[in-house]
Amino acid sequence: MSIVNLLRIAWQALRRNITRSILTMLGIIIGVGAVITSMAIGAGAQAAVLAQIESLGANLVVVIPGAITSGGVSLGTGSRTTLKLPDVDAIASTVPDVAGAAPYSQTSAQVVAGGMNWYTVIGGTTPSYTGVRSWSVAQGRFFTSAEVDQAAKVAVLGNTVQQNLFPEGGAVGSIVIIKNVPFRVVGVLAPKGQSGFGRDQDDTVMVPITTLLDRLTGQTWVQNFFVSAVTPEAVPAVVDATERLLRLRHHLTVAQPDDFTIRNIADVQQVRLATSQTQALLLAGIAVVSLVVGGIGIMNIMLVSVTERTREIGLRMAVGARGRDILLQFLVEALTLACLGGLIGIAIGVGTAQGSSALGHWPVIVSPFSILLGFLSSLLVGVVFGFYPAQRAAALDPIVALRYE
């Protein structure tokens, strides 16, 4: 019996009970739809987390000052003033496997340019920052080491600031005033988007760290060091070596705790990634359960169908159908149900994913792999749950089947 004939027989049988066929498919439709939707949402969430890791900078380690504890009152992490600019140079030059190290301090201020003004974050750093944070310059240039040494009054604008202060363009070469100090704009940073915590990273102005400390904040210490390791594998070693170096430079005895904290940002993000993976897995688990329930529905209806059509089976056997022909007939029928359900489920799953992306602004990614997986799992369900009823049909005794009332 050719596959075309098997499909035709299956199609006729399913059309005969159209309502029942659709209700039977419902389980598979929901199951496959759930597989596609959950995978799209899971993949979207993971991609978002990965993009955030990417935007932070490669293999990033952050050093922040420790907490001051005075008379039993702790002022919290970052309140110490022990991180100094020479520490950064020492890390960059002596710690092995460091790709770059940059200091970073910030303050907030009103920035004025002509008739426009904008309240933003003023960051102070060194040219290493662009490498450490994987952040490139879109227009003009970043400031140089020489300008850092001279505490030059130069600034690089973030994309958001540029758009607000210079909606017409022409930022490079203009003068902006920050806390009554005029800065010459030498460049504009490429857009970087939101940070992992929802802050607009492009809403910033970068100036040399020396200029920031001398002219804008009056501080002598640095708020953060950004250190990047050459490879992800080198990050733990860089963390250890940086800790030892800083303890040495800060003259801490064995009994004294660190006066700084080192954070492996990638680790934090990895935890978030793992969390989103777990959520995706959980959703997929629910989807699998509904697929199994759908499969049981198919098996149930196929068993009913075999019983109802016992005489037909007997007749087919009498006119020459072998057990294999009957087995295939019912298997193809179950498969047709499952595959049709799968295809409808894929359509609904893709629709739901796109809908939740459009309405809920969730990041979703519908991958061809998830569609293939959805279809294959419906196929598998059809075979697994169609086999038993089909085998029962094939094992019928033609005489008994012919006499069945």
Binding site: M1, S2, N5, Q12, R16, R311, E312, G314, L315, R316, M317, A318, V319, G320, A321, R322, G323, R324, D325, D397, P398, I399, L402
Partner: protein, 269 residues
Amino acid sequence: MTDGALARGRATEAAPSTREPLIDVRDMTKVYGEGDTAVRALRGVSLRVQADEFVAIMGPSGSGKSTFMHLLGCLDRPTSGSYRLAGQEVSRLSRDELAAVRNRRIGFVFQSFNLLARTTAQENVELPLLYAGVPRDLRVQRARALLQQVGLGDRLGHRPSELSGGQQQRVAIARALANGAPLLMADEPTGNLDSASSAEIMTLFRELNRRDGITVVLVTHDVSVAAWSNRVVTFRDGLIIDDRPSAEAVPRRVRESMLGTAPALEARP
């Protein structure tokens, strides 16, 4: 009707040599169950049927005639004994081999027609051809020719529910003939029909037998149906107790009243 051409291929296949019977059953037994509860449905039956015979099998319920019919129809295997069908020993074949024998050598006609519901007459006739792997064009062509032959050329697209009982049984007969089987097995073929339709169906059987040389074996408990046959085999308690020409087995008045209603037949070749 153009049945001659259709029948000829069948006749050559059916009778390979001069004297070999189409059906040759020897010492056939069939036991259901085991031990004390075993039921001996057939207790050693031997029967030879020549190609182109028309045999009626009679007997009361439980006589073993249905069991014998199933074994002749290759729907089941005997417990012991041999069965040669058209020269082939079929008593020890596997399920699938039996299916192939049924497909090619035997056509079944049932009391309840057993047509597929919601399926056209033509598709019903195509069914055995489908399992024989006949290509679509040939299937359609053959099914149409057969329906024409049984007088339903204008009912090809009708479904069983749109046909009378007699018409449905004609579709079933066309289906039984589809693969050119030399042997037609009928189980109470007129049991669900009124007397006029019954006569039509029996006439068709006799026509197929006399003109096309198809061997007909039919099971009935109705002596007026048996009157249409040439030979009546009677079963009782799992044994053949009587086997004689129908002229002797069926009372004269029954034969005359039955055959008197039949349309005239052309002479046997």
